[in-house]
């Protein structure tokens, strides 16, 4: 993806235009809305949009910076996400060494494998080798309390925050026929559709949400928000088909799957939060919570997208 190509500039202008629209909308609503509840919603909207400017800037900036820059940025996202995940899930003193290796060996090694493009090892480092080695480090300490739960939590943290997310920069390594934005277009498609689905579900839910879809897990989510959001995000995907090697209908189906999986991924992460009795994973992003609150839907849709792209459309 290069600034010199007109398609790149077009995409960036579109994203900036949409964000600008919401920024202005927030300012206008702040003067129009009078009720206390409405004002809280509006200030939350303004905070969210402000955070979106930063997040869009980071992602687009990293893609413009090239492959290594993208790998570093997603590596840092994994680090911050894993930090939030392990903070919120109880581990014990006996896990300290295993956790140290999860943060400072498994994570950098996984991104180093992305960098070198060693796909065979990239696919098994965390699911196989981390799975085998990390419990070995914990078990020799002899602390059996919650042993399976502790081990599983560490492994889950690595899978969700590191393994899944590392598939995003790995997209830049796939061999494809030339695309308008290069492989960076594949990353943009994934991020815009999944994150767009979250935003559209939120908007549809605010506009006409009535029937709660999962009151125990995520009280804010409604059937109206889900259906409206997923369908409109899939249409968005179809209109962005030119970023990928897909036809419009193929892009629609892929986007539909991404949104459905992203929704379920969000519910899974909500279920973990409810179990732990917390509302947000962290406090890093104003209006959103932690970084994991923002990328939860992305985590679960990324591997499927990677495999569809590589097996159905790759050269």
């Amino acid at each position: 993806m290069h600034w010199s190509s007109p398609e790149t500039r077009q995409v960036i202008l579109w994203i900036a235009g949409i964000l600008l629209f919401f920024s202005i909308l927030g300012r206008v609503l702040r003067f129009r809305v009078k009720s206390e509840k409405g004002l809280a919603t509006v200030s939350n909207l303004i905070a969210r949009v402000r955070a979106w400017w930063v997040m869009a800037g980071v992602i687009i900036g990293s893609l413009l910076g090239g492959r290594t820059a993208t790998e570093i940025v997603f590596g840092l996202i994994s680090l911050l996400a894993l930090r939030e995940f392990i903070t919120a899930t109880p581990t014990r003193r006996a896990d300290h060494q295993a956790l140290f290796l999860a943060f400072f060996a498994a994570l950098p090694l996984q991104y180093w494998l992305v960098h070198t493009g060693w796909y065979g090892m990239f696919g098994i480092l965390i699911p196989v080798y981390a799975f085998v080695l990390l419990p070995c480090l914990s078990v020799v300490r002899g602390d059996t309390q919650d042993f399976l739960a502790r081990t599983a939590r560490t492994q889950w943290g690595l899978m969700v925050c590191v393994y899944f997310i590392s598939h995003i920069p790995m997209l830049l390594q796939l061999p494809f026929a030339p695309l308008p934005l290069g492989n960076a277009g594949l990353v943009l498609f994934l991020v815009v559709v999944t994150q767009g689905s979250d935003v559209l579900q939120y908007l549809w839910g605010k506009l006409c949400g009535k029937r709660k879809i999962a009151p125990n897990l995520s009280p804010g989510k409604t059937w109206e928000g889900f259906i409206g959001g997923v369908l409109s995000a899939s249409l968005l995907g179809a209109s962005l088909h030119w970023l990928t090697p897909c036809r419009p209908w193929q892009a629609f189906v892929i986007a539909l799957m991404l949104c459905a999986l992203g929704f379920l991924g969000g519910l899974i992460m909500s279920a973990i939060k409810r179990e732990r009795g917390i509302k947000d994973w962290g406090t890093l992003i104003e209006g959103h919570g932690g970084i994991l609150d923002r990328i939860d839907s992305l985590c679960f849709s990324t591997p499927l997208y990677f495999h569809i792209m590589s097996y159905c459309f790759g050269n």
Binding site: R83, T87, P90, R92, H96, Q97, R276
Partner: protein
């Protein structure tokens, strides 16, 4: 420069977030912050979350036998953090730790104290030693602020040297009010309860 870098680095590793629940960070009163103890990062983190100006006149109270072991540990404690090293054993009238803490407070400094006396292994808060009571009697006008340090015992547990970058929270509570006629065990129990009351709901060890 070195001290502000140390504060920045500590905040980076421990991802710490201060919660000023019961007192004002900007207030210039002299304080004794008393906190639970589970990690070598406890003092540095509490200190790093204070406003820069308060940091300069806040000293940790630490065990001389531990930190005087070699030049390196002594350099960190006295050189970097300006610690007030007190002896845990062999207390004489001349070397009375309470007198030295009171002297520091009289010079306008604030202190950080870990009244459990040692680091806990599992994050539970042990009974308090009596130093806090003697100090409260020697300097009744100084505010005693309970501080709960969450998760630092997971960032760097006792017996380990390498930290993992988890997020921690520092909760500052309301200064202990004076209760006339209170006995020593009553006071220590009340101080400990003021600290454990700050443990956020849903937290674990």
């Amino acid at each position: 420069m070195l001290r502000s870098s140390a504060a920045f680095l500590t905040k980076l590793i421990t991802g710490t977030r201060p919660v000023w629940q019961g007192c004002d960070p900007a207030c210039r009163e002299r304080r004794v912050y008393f906190a639970n103890h589970g990690s070598h990062l406890d003092f540095a983190t509490l200190w790093a979350t204070l406003p820069a100006e308060a940091r300069e006149r806040t000293r940790p109270v630490a065990a001389a036998d531990y930190w005087n072991r070699n030049r390196f540990t002594r350099g960190i404690a006295c050189g970097l953090f300006n610690a007030l090293l007190i002896s845990r054993e062999g207390i004489t009238r001349k070397e009375n730790p309470i007198t030295r803490m009171a002297d520091a407070l009289r010079q306008g400094e604030s202190l950080i104290l870990f009244p459990e006396g040692t680091r806990s292994l599992d994050g539970t808060v042990a009974d308090f030693k009596s130093g806090l009571w003697h100090l409260a009697h020697a300097m009744p006008e100084v505010a005693l602020v309970p501080v709960f340090l969450q998760n630092l015992n997971r960032v760097l547990p006792k017996g380990h040297v390498l930290p993992i970058p988890l997020l921690s929270t520092v909760v500052f509570g309301t200064p202990l009010p004076a209760v006339p006629g209170e006995t020593k065990p009553e006071f220590l129990r009340r101080a400990r309860t003021a600290l454990t009351d700050l443990i956020p709901a849903g937290s674990f060890h």
